[in-house]
């Protein structure tokens, strides 16, 4: 077991030669649950500021891939590096460093129900980056205003609608100032009339240059905001390209079938 202080230096030694390297680099990623292989060798590179949508049937491995990127799921084979630092599962300190850079938003919001909205947003910065309470509070107020919920600072999460809760979750993730935001079907648990307000916030982030990797079923949205769309099928990246090409001129029968079923 290496000590915590050894992490930055070892990370520096694995950084590739100066130049542009992808923010997220995935090579030959394989992941099994017992005998069931859900990722069968995934390759993907994400550049800084890119907006990537991952689409595909349920069970195609898209959520698992997303959860591998911030270490919520361990993988068995392959390489995954964020910011040039290879992800090592089992090294708690390295994982923590990685997660400071990679925020995540969940389908079920996962707000902390025992804390007010404001405290939800403030908690991680005060604990993890030792931000002074006052600074964290101002940041939280600013971020809540940004997602249109400035007046809900002292509300409890269960007093909010689903759409409002998801927007708080976005503010909470942003409070850590991540470079990458992972969005795991962030509108799937919402009533249809609440989807728009959340997508609007996500689109705002995309416009401001945030690197976004999102698993989504909202094809219209994926087409509108993505720089690239990834179609996953049976644990592999089956087709990938700019939205116009992928949606307008799908190359594989699987993608044609997938898109055909939606209409």
């Amino acid at each position: 077991m290496t000590t915590a202080s050894a992490v930055p230096s070892s990370a520096a030694s694995t950084t590739p030669a100066p130049g542009i390297f992808p923010l997220v680099q995935i090579k030959g990623l394989r992941k099994r649950y017992g005998d069931n292989e859900v990722l069968k060798g995934v390759d993907l590179e994400v550049q800084r500021g890119e907006v990537i949508s991952i689409i595909g049937k349920s069970g195609s491995g898209k959520s698992t891939l997303l959860r591998c990127i911030n270490g919520l799921e361990a993988f068995q084979q392959g390489e995954l590096s964020v910011h040039g630092q290879p992800l090592k599962s089992g090294d708690a300190q390295a994982l923590r460093e990685l997660r400071k850079n990679v925020g995540m938003i969940f389908q079920n919001f996962n707000l902390f129900p025992h804390l007010t909205v404001g405290r939800n947003v403030m908690l991680a910065p005060t604990l993890v980056t030792s931000q002074p309470k006052e600074v964290a509070r101002q940041n939280a107020q600013r971020l809540l205003a940004r997602v249109g919920l400035a007046e809900k600072f002292d509300a409890m999460p269960d007093q909010l609608s689903g759409g409002q809760q998801q927007r708080v979750a976005i503010a909470r993730a942003l409070a850590m100032n991540p470079e990458i935001l992972l969005c795991d079907e962030v509108t799937s648990a919402l009533d249809p009339e609440l989807v728009g307000e959340v997508l609007q916030v996500v689109e705002g982030l995309a416009d401001q240059g945030m690197t976004l990797i999102m698993v989504t079923h909202e094809m219209g949205f994926a087409r509108k905001v993505s720089d690239r769309v990834v179609f996953m099928h049976q644990g592999r990246v089956h087709e990938m390209g700019v939205p116009e090409q992928l949606f307008g001129n799908p190359q594989t029968p699987e993608l044609r079938q997938f898109l055909g079923k939606l209409h």
């Binding site: 919520l72 923590r96 997660r99 969940f106 079920n108 902390f112 991680a124």
Partner: protein, 216 residues
């Protein structure tokens, strides 16, 4: 032969009641601390710890408290600890309640949705931060009512320490009954005193249960 007035008897029983209350408090407080430590050990996923804690809990849940008392009392003497009934009773009841409390609270921790672990982990919180600020506040809220309920078990459990010669209220009742030849009246009083301790605890536990019912 000496005659005992009812007042004499009541006075003796009330004096002994202090030991029942005291022993219950010690067992509950020390048991809580130890139980929490065991719970953290189990949740921390240290190699072997999970199995050790599970076995510990099983041993205490799977044997009668009476045997645990005998084994503690004679076992401590065997390994050379200069033991007294009070010490043995405290140690044994602490171990006993720690096992049960650990298991009660573990159930509560497991009832906290997995998403809470994932969300806090994604915010780069470490294990102790997750536990301290996210998981335990929610779990313990669920745990308050069953914990208060278990405290009733501890109070009643102290009665068994009479067999290793600890003079709490059951033992005092026994001694007085032997002297007065009025066992039914004496044990009736003893039972009434237990009830006076336990009933408010039960009521309180039920009230907490209603008030703290999870809102989700």
């Amino acid at each position: 032969m000496v005659d005992f007035t009812f007042w004499d008897i009541a006075k003796q029983l009330l004096l002994a009641l202090r030991w029942t209350v005291g022993l219950s408090l010690i067992a509950f407080v020390c048991g809580s601390v130890l139980g929490m430590a065991l719970l953290v050990l189990r949740l921390a996923k240290l190699p072997g710890a999970q199995r050790f804690v599970a076995a510990y809990v099983q041993v205490f849940q799977g044997t009668p408290l009476l045997m645990q008392l005998f084994l503690t009392y004679f076992g401590m003497a065997m390994v050379g600890i200069d033991t007294s009934p009070l010490l043995a009773a405290c140690v044994c009841l602490t171990l006993y309640s720690s096992a049960y409390l650990c298991e009660i609270w573990r159930g509560c921790v497991e009832a906290v949705p997995k998403g809470q672990w994932e969300a806090s982990a994604s915010l780069a919180m470490g294990f102790t931060e997750q536990l301290r600020h996210v998981i335990l506040p929610q779990a313990l809220r669920m745990g308050i009512a069953p914990t208060a309920g278990f405290s009733v078990q501890i109070v009643k459990g102290t009665a068994l320490t009479s067999v290793i010669g600890f003079i709490e209220i059951t033992k005092a009742g026994q001694l007085i009954a032997n002297a007065t030849f009025e066992p039914f009246m004496i044990y009736g009083c003893v039972a009434a005193l237990y009830f006076a301790l336990c009933f408010p605890l039960s009521l309180w536990s039920q009230r907490l249960e209603r008030r703290l019912r999870p809102r989700r």
